[in-house]
């Protein structure tokens, strides 16, 4: 029981991070109907920028931890968002309206480029960060096994929850959100009705990148070490999460992220750590076979 609870907490933390990345995938997919293959790398870049920002703040003498965290979060979001914008501008916009596979290939190329860009500039070795947030609660105790919820895990879940709430509000109430929903329904019609489609798509990439940056920062704090290769697997899992939840649906992305996190945590906890990635993909295949539109996705009608 205690062990179960611990895996639940770990899974929820991991799932929050996946959920944040998955939102970027699901939004882009919802609007332009394409996988943003470079999104995993954006998350990796977010993690690197957060480490750099932490170091710079350390040099600048900011020692009050909450202030440092907020500053790092904001700078990371800002700079990573620019990378998100750049990906759209370079790899997607010139290919708008061309064959569906073309942007996919250019995005894969972009992903390879960014990975090597970071590797060359920052080095291939893992980057360690000292733990900034220590301590936590003991939630439950039995037979000498303490179930711990660290402050960091709590922070990750709260930040995710807060961002989700803020984000849903933006989509639901602002004019930008309305434009995004319009583009999601019908890109051409939205353009005819005076929505600046290019701008909406750019904004979507920027928003997704900002969320991925938060995920990158959280992972840096949570695991304490990152390298240039973390983007690929996290990206694939987050996309799996988006598909699992039903692509195009925001709550679906979050739900999918949390489910993937839980599956991974329980699988490594009870079966084998080596095959935890296999478990994620097997679950994905099962869900798609049984419910091809994902958990919360709308079925797509085929029109002739």
């Amino acid at each position: 029981m205690a062990y179960f609870l611990q895996q639940l907490i770990n899974g929820l933390t991991l799932g929050s991070i996946y959920g944040l990345i998955a939102i970027g995938y699901t939004m882009v997919y919802g609007i332009i109907g394409m996988i943003n293959f470079a999104h995993g790398e954006i998350y990796m870049i977010g993690a690197f920028i957060s480490i750099i920002a932490l170091l710079v703040l350390g040099l600048a003498g900011v020692s009050y931890v909450p202030l440092a965290l907020v500053l790092v979060l904001l700078t990371t979001m800002l700079f990573t968002a620019i990378y998100g914008w750049m990906v759209e501008r370079v790899a997607y916009r010139p290919l708008r309206g061309s064959h569906r596979l073309a942007p996919l290939i250019s995005a894969i190329g972009m992903s390879i480029f960014l990975q090597n860009y970071v590797q060359i500039l920052q080095g291939a070795r893992g980057k360690p960060v000292p733990p900034l947030i220590l301590g936590g609660f003991t939630v439950y105790q039995s037979d000498g096994f303490d179930v711990r919820l660290s402050y960091l895990q709590l922070l990750i879940m709260l930040v995710t929850l807060g961002l989700m709430a803020g984000f849903t509000t933006v989509i639901a109430t602002t004019s930008l959100g309305r434009a995004q929903r319009a583009c999601e329904q019908d890109l051409q019609m939205a353009a005819l009705l005076g929505v600046d489609v290019d701008r909406v798509i750019s904004t979507t990439f920027v928003m997704g990148a900002a969320l991925a940056a938060v995920a990158g920062f959280m992972v840096t704090l949570y695991y304490g070490v990152i390298d240039f290769f973390i983007g690929f697997l996290a990206g694939v899992k987050a996309f799996t999460a988006a598909v699992l939840g039903g692509i195009g649906s925001l709550p679906g992305a979050m739900l999918g992220g949390i489910l993937i996190g839980l599956i991974e945590a329980f699988w490594s906890g009870y079966f084998s750590v080596e095959y935890k990635d296999v478990s994620v993909f097997v679950v994905l295949i099962l869900v798609l076979v049984l419910r091809p539109t994902g958990l919360l996705g709308r079925p797509e009608l085929e029109k002739v």
């Binding site: 997919y29 109907g33 394409m34 996988i35 690197f48 750099i52 920002a53 170091l55 710079v56 040099l59 700079f79 620019i82 750049m86 370079v90 790899a91 010139p94 290919l95 061309s98 064959h99 569906r100 596979l101 073309a102 996919l104 290939i105 250019s106 894969i108 190329g109 972009m110 390879i112 480029f113 990975q115 090597n116 860009y117 590797q119 500039l121 920052q122 080095g123 070795r125 980057k127 360690p128 960060v129 000292p130 690929f232 694939v236 799996t240 598909v243 692509i247 080596e274 095959y275 990635d277 296999v278 994620v280 993909f281 097997v282 994905l284 295949i285 798609l288 091809p292 085929e302 002739v304």
Partner: protein, 443 residues
């Protein structure tokens, strides 16, 4: 804005004058964005200072160089777009003509290509390195033609093609290690096992559309790799399998000396022994395999099953209405594509003599898919061009060593933006109702 441009006399009447102020402003904006992009990752470099801590050093001069390069590049791009029209158009016609497979071009190009490929090892400037490179190119050509069945013809997006390549390679490696099979004995089994994996993968994904299919196949590729990595008792785990037998020429091995009772290749033909003989032989094996693959897929396209693939790619609903069974059609595409990948994998294992899961990462899948898409989906010749381009490009980049993959990624983006529909963009159905005069149907 117009004042800046008014003094400029355009060489091309009928086009608006080049608006210098606006273009410079645009380029400056691009430079500014480049500065912002480069500032954190390029300008501030983290490094180990020992004891698990990180230090930071600044490289703001790099940022300045990057910004200046982007500014200049952007401006040059504008100028090229404005003044480089004429030459551009000429290049377009070359590709278009190649693409439409004009009858005057078809035979000479194919023949020339095959002659060059056959003669490559015997050309005066050829070296062991060149033949090795040719072998690598041909592996990718074969993989590209195999994947083309799935992606180009049947229109099913497969991001995990490397899985079948891996299955083929490991099938041979295991058969050789445990049962003592030779390359030629194992080749059919590699194809067969890979094909069954293709069908196994095909079953669950039949109902999926485009990008769902992409992610499931990607997941499948990763599953295979992870299993190969962790199932150490059988696959050797990360250490892989070594001492895979080399192919023999009709039973004659390529070796300096052979065990009792076995004649080696050079003894049989009375030649001086040279390690190059095997390299050249391996090159011809893959050349033959690749040409067979090409012939096989070209013939398939003329069979009802090939027509059904193309029909399915164009419109699945219409196919159902016409009584084509999408299940069988998709499964056969997956199976045949996988089989060709398996053959290539078997060859890869015998060529390397050593395989490990490291050779079968997602990058491989991405490269093969890029070859198919860059080549122009469905174009056999385009795949050859794209394979040559994508394989030799990183080789040329060896001078830059660490920048190799960086350039590879950048080239993928650049080529795609330059020719979104592939080098030889051509997607004509093999069959048309009214045959056009003077033009052969697609081979």
């Amino acid at each position: 804005m117009t004042t800046a441009a008014s003094g400029f006399v355009s060489g091309n009447p009928g086009q608006p004058a080049f608006d210098w102020a606006a273009q410079v402003k645009d380029a400056a904006l691009a430079g500014l964005i480049a500065t912002l992009l480069a500032l954190p990752l390029m300008g501030l470099q983290t490094y180990d200072i020992g004891g698990g801590a990180l230090g930071i050093r600044t490289h703001f001069n790099w940022v300045a160089i990057a910004a200046a390069a982007v500014f200049a590049g952007r401006l040059a791009l504008h100028l090229a777009q404005r003044f480089g029209r004429g030459r551009h158009r000429h290049r377009e016609t070359l590709f278009t003509r190649l693409a439409t497979w004009d009858s005057r071009w078809a035979l000479p190009i194919t023949a020339a290509g095959i002659i060059i490929a056959v003669a490559l090892p015997f050309l005066p400037f050829s070296s062991r390195y060149l033949v090795d490179l040719g072998t690598t190119v041909l592996i990718y050509v074969m993989l590209g033609w195999g994947l083309n069945v799935v992606v180009g013809l049947a229109g099913l997006l497969d991001l995990g093609y490397v899985a079948f390549y891996a299955v083929g390679a490991y099938t041979f490696a295991l058969l050789a290690r445990d049962l003592g099979f030779s390359f030629w004995q194992a080749l059919p089994f590699s194809g067969l096992v890979a094909a069954s994996f293709g069908v196994i993968l095909g079953f669950p994904v039949l109902r999926l559309r485009g990008d769902y299919l992409a992610i499931v196949t990607l997941g499948f590729g990763e599953i295979i790799r992870i299993v190969l990595l962790n199932w150490s008792p059988v696959t050797g785990g990360p250490n892989g399998i070594s001492d895979i037998p080399r192919p023999s020429f009709l039973g004659l091995p390529f070796a300096r000396s052979a065990p009792e009772g076995v004649t080696t290749f050079h003894q049989f033909f009375g030649l001086e022994f040279s390690p190059d003989q095997r390299v050249v032989f391996i090159y011809f094996v893959i050349l033959a395999l690749a040409l067979l693959t090409n012939l096989f897929t070209l013939r398939l396209r003329r069979l009802p099953i090939g027509r059904a693939w193309e029909a399915l790619r164009e419109d699945e609903v219409a196919c159902r209405a016409l009584g084509i069974n999408p299940t069988n059609v998709k499964l056969s595409a997956f199976g045949i594509g996988a089989m060709l990948g398996g053959f290539a994998g078997c060859f890869f294992a015998t060529r390397q003599g050593f395989i490990s899961p490291e050779s079968f990462t997602f990058i491989e899948s991405a490269t093969i898919l890029a070859i198919v898409v860059l080549g122009g989906m469905g174009s056999q010749l385009g795949i050859v061009l794209a394979a040559i381009l994508l394989v030799t490009l990183p080789e040329l980049g060896r001078a830059f060593a660490e920048f190799r993959m960086l350039l590879f990624g950048a080239a993928m983006v650049a080529i795609m933006v330059w020719r979104p529909r592939g080098l030889l963009a051509h997607r004509e159905p093999s069959l048309r109702l009214v045959p056009r005069s003077r033009r052969h149907p697609l081979p």
